[in-house]
């Protein structure tokens, strides 16, 4: 099996695989999240069945929905800045694709191996703000504009605790390379016991919490969905969008949820790896080839758990008020994550 996988693939073949892999890595989580959580979990929480007609247990419902959206008219408001208006959803989805590039799914199953992968991920993660701001601005609609501005303010406010939460992990791993962070967690040991490796969620639990809250806000999911608050702003920056452009926003929302969950699992939950001691691996080079298949599956499972939590919160919480939301970021999350960094650094130096 490993000999089969170790076959030399030409460069164009590798590139093609990466393109296909990238599409799968973005769209498969998005589709799974939408079906599993948005359709089914939400329905069961609300004592209904959800879609049941299309396919077994409504599993093909998503394709029906996509078909519906593709058929709808692509409306551009007369006053809108048409070119930018059309471009905006693409920017949002593009940022998701750029983000997934950095995530490692296995010892060799990665797209790009940046030495400063964390830095890249957090930088690219904020590109979607531009798309959202531009969407709101170019729609020539007061609700869109307000939604876009709220989104910009919110994403910038929550970018900071997210970055600060990750710094703790970077200090502990001693590297900004995501692959190294995975290896550090799986080859590590807790007081000499290496049965489960050393996932950073154990020491960085505060960071993990802050990171997940910030992710919730970055995704504008419910307690933080002020930009699209439907009882105030119709649908925020998406108000004027219809048809496949709305679909792109929609996919972008859930694909980004999946990708952020990937990153969170890499940073805090040990990523694609299994504890290296189980198979006697010493480092990255010893890892068996089958992890290139097993790694993505492990990642996918962890992603489902994390997005499950995100969606669970989304379906059961009411939303913040705009000022409360900003106050929560600046007065609660940022001080907590700064204290976390200080503590991590002190312990790191001391130990």
């Amino acid at each position: 099996m490993s000999a089969l996988l170790a076959v030399e693939i030409p460069y164009w073949g590798q590139s093609l695989l990466r393109v296909l892999g990238g599409i799968v890595a973005v769209l498969l989580p998005a589709g799974t999240i939408v079906y599993l959580f948005l359709f089914k979990m939400m329905s069961f929480m609300q004592s209904r069945l959800g879609p049941m007609e299309a396919g077994p247990f409504g599993s093909m419902q998503l394709f029906a929905e996509v078909g519906k959206w593709l058929q709808k008219e692509d409306i551009v408001p007369a006053e809108a800045d048409a070119r930018i208006y059309k471009l905006a959803p693409v920017i949002v989805l593009l940022s998701t694709f750029l983000l997934v590039v950095v995530v490692p799914f296995g010892p060799d199953a990665y797209f790009v191996d940046f030495s400063a992968g964390v830095f890249y991920a957090l930088a690219i993660g904020s590109v979607s703000v531009i798309g959202i701001l531009v969407a709101g601005w170019s729609s020539a609609n007061k609700y869109s504009l307000l939604g876009g501005l709220r989104a910009a303010g919110q994403l910038i406010a929550y970018e900071l605790p997210m970055v600060l939460a990750v710094v703790g992990v970077v200090i502990q791993a001693g590297s900004m390379n995501l692959q190294d962070i995975v290896v550090a967690q799986n080859s590590g040991s807790i007081f000499g016991w290496d049965g489960v490796g050393f996932p950073f969620v154990l020491t960085q639990f505060v960071g993990f919490l802050v990171f997940m809250i910030a992710v919730q806000a970055e995704l504008t999911q419910v307690p933080f969905d002020m930009p699209i608050a439907e009882s105030e702003l119709v649908s925020g920056y998406m108000t004027e969008y219809s048809g496949f452009r709305f679909l792109i926003f929609f996919i972008g929302e859930f694909a980004t949820a999946g990708v952020f969950a990937f990153i969170a699992s890499v940073l805090f939950l040990g990523g694609w790896g299994v504890p290296f001691s189980w198979f006697g691996w010493e480092g990255l080079d010893d890892v068996d080839n089958w992890m290139n298949i097993g790694g993505p599956l492990i990642m996918f499972t962890k992603m489902l758990v994390l997005t499950g939590i995100i969606m669970w919160v989304r379906f059961s919480y009411p939303r913040f008020r705009e000022d409360q939301l900003q106050r929560f970021a600046w007065k609660v999350l940022i001080p907590i994550s700064l204290a976390n960094i200080a503590l991590t650094a002190i312990v790191k130096v001391a130990v």
């Binding site: 969905d225 009882s231 919480y317 009411p318 008020r321 705009e322 409360q324």
Partner: protein
């Protein structure tokens, strides 16, 4: 921030329409005023007509009337509790509210034949007696409703975000509330202990059971919602106690076949789900009323909107309006 409610877009002319209806026909009209608690709309009108005719429903009819009245309060305010969440982006509570309101509607349907518009109350009593097995079923449903109240208490009222959105927002002091003629839970949430079920003696069964008027000293959005939650709980207790004590006997008093209401004027108001609802009925001795003035709760409750919405944040408008709880049909009639 500044707001002015502009009523009249749903005006259906009920006051005028009653003048060309006979007395028994009016109930089918007026139970569409507050469409979530329809049966409660019929009661004060029937009581006013009975007052003019100087007849009183038999005790069994009074009990069943009160039970149905409280059931329509539960159906109405239960939905409000779920709707609160959806106004603030929490989608789940509203489905729970719809799920459990369904049980109450089934009960109302079982007893009256109509889910939303029972048209069951008659001058001198009720159209029919209760069906077989209804009492046991109602007791089961009341248990479910109490569980629903606990669920909402946990899911919404216990939520920090909900509290931070509601507490201290839209505060109405008791003197302002009285000046604007607020009634119902909106008034009680401002600390005024005022409940028409207790404070006046009507031929209904509220004085025969043990219950409590809930008030809250704060007068903010939180208080209004909390008082309503407690009232749903209290209503289930009222229903439970009444079910145990329904007297035997007829459900209809002796009334003439063709109802002619003697000349005179009568005002009867009751504590409806939304607040005080009253009918001022003027009769000239004909088959139908000469003039009916409807005092509906939402109209007066909404009159405070310009005062309470002055200078609040835009997102707070949602919570304040939701907590004032109005029904459009009840504003315009």
């Amino acid at each position: 921030m500044w707001a002015e409610p502009s009523a009249g877009y749903m005006h259906r002319g009920y006051e005028k329409l009653t003048e060309v209806r006979t007395f028994p026909q009016v109930t089918s009209l007026i139970n569409r005023i507050d469409w979530l608690g329809s049966f409660a709309n019929e009661v004060p009108f029937i009581l006013a007509a009975e007052k003019l005719m100087d007849i009183e429903a038999p005790p069994r009819a009074q009990h069943i009337r009160t039970i149905l009245f409280e059931l329509s309060r539960i159906a109405n305010v239960g939905l409000f509790l779920g709707d609160l969440g959806v106004q603030m982006g929490a989608v789940t509570p509203v489905f729970m509210a719809f799920r459990d309101r369904e049980y109450v509607l089934n009960l109302i349907e079982g007893a009256t034949g109509g889910r939303f518009h029972p048209n069951f109350d008659r001058i001198g009593g009720l159209k029919d007696d209760l069906p077989k097995g209804w009492i046991d079923e109602t007791k089961q449903v009341m248990k479910k409703l109490r569980r629903f109240c606990d669920e909402i208490d946990d899911l919404l009222f216990g939520n920090e975000i909900f509290q931070s959105r509601m507490r201290g927002v839209g505060v109405i002091p008791s003197d302002i509330a009285l000046q604007y003629g607020l009634s119902g839970a909106n008034l009680r949430a401002s600390g005024v202990e005022w409940d028409l079920r207790r404070d006046q003696s009507l031929p209904m069964a509220w004085d025969k059971v043990d219950w409590k008027v809930w008030t809250h000293p704060d007068g903010d959005s939180w208080a209004r919602c909390w008082v309503r939650l407690q009232e749903v709980r209290e209503s289930t207790k009222i229903v439970d106690q009444l079910l145990d004590t329904i007297p035997a006997g007829p459900v209809m008093a002796k009334v003439p076949r063709i109802i002619k209401v003697p000349e005179g004027e009568a005002w009867v108001s009751t504590e409806n789900p939304l607040g005080e609802m009253g009918y001022y009925v003027v009769s000239k001795g004909d088959l139908g009323p000469f003039r009916v003035k409807i005092r509906s709760a939402s109209f007066n409750n909404m009159s405070i909107a310009p005062w309470v919405l002055k200078g609040v944040y835009v997102p707070d408008i949602i919570t304040i309006l939701a907590s004032l709880y109005f029904i459009l049909g009840d504003i315009d009639r």
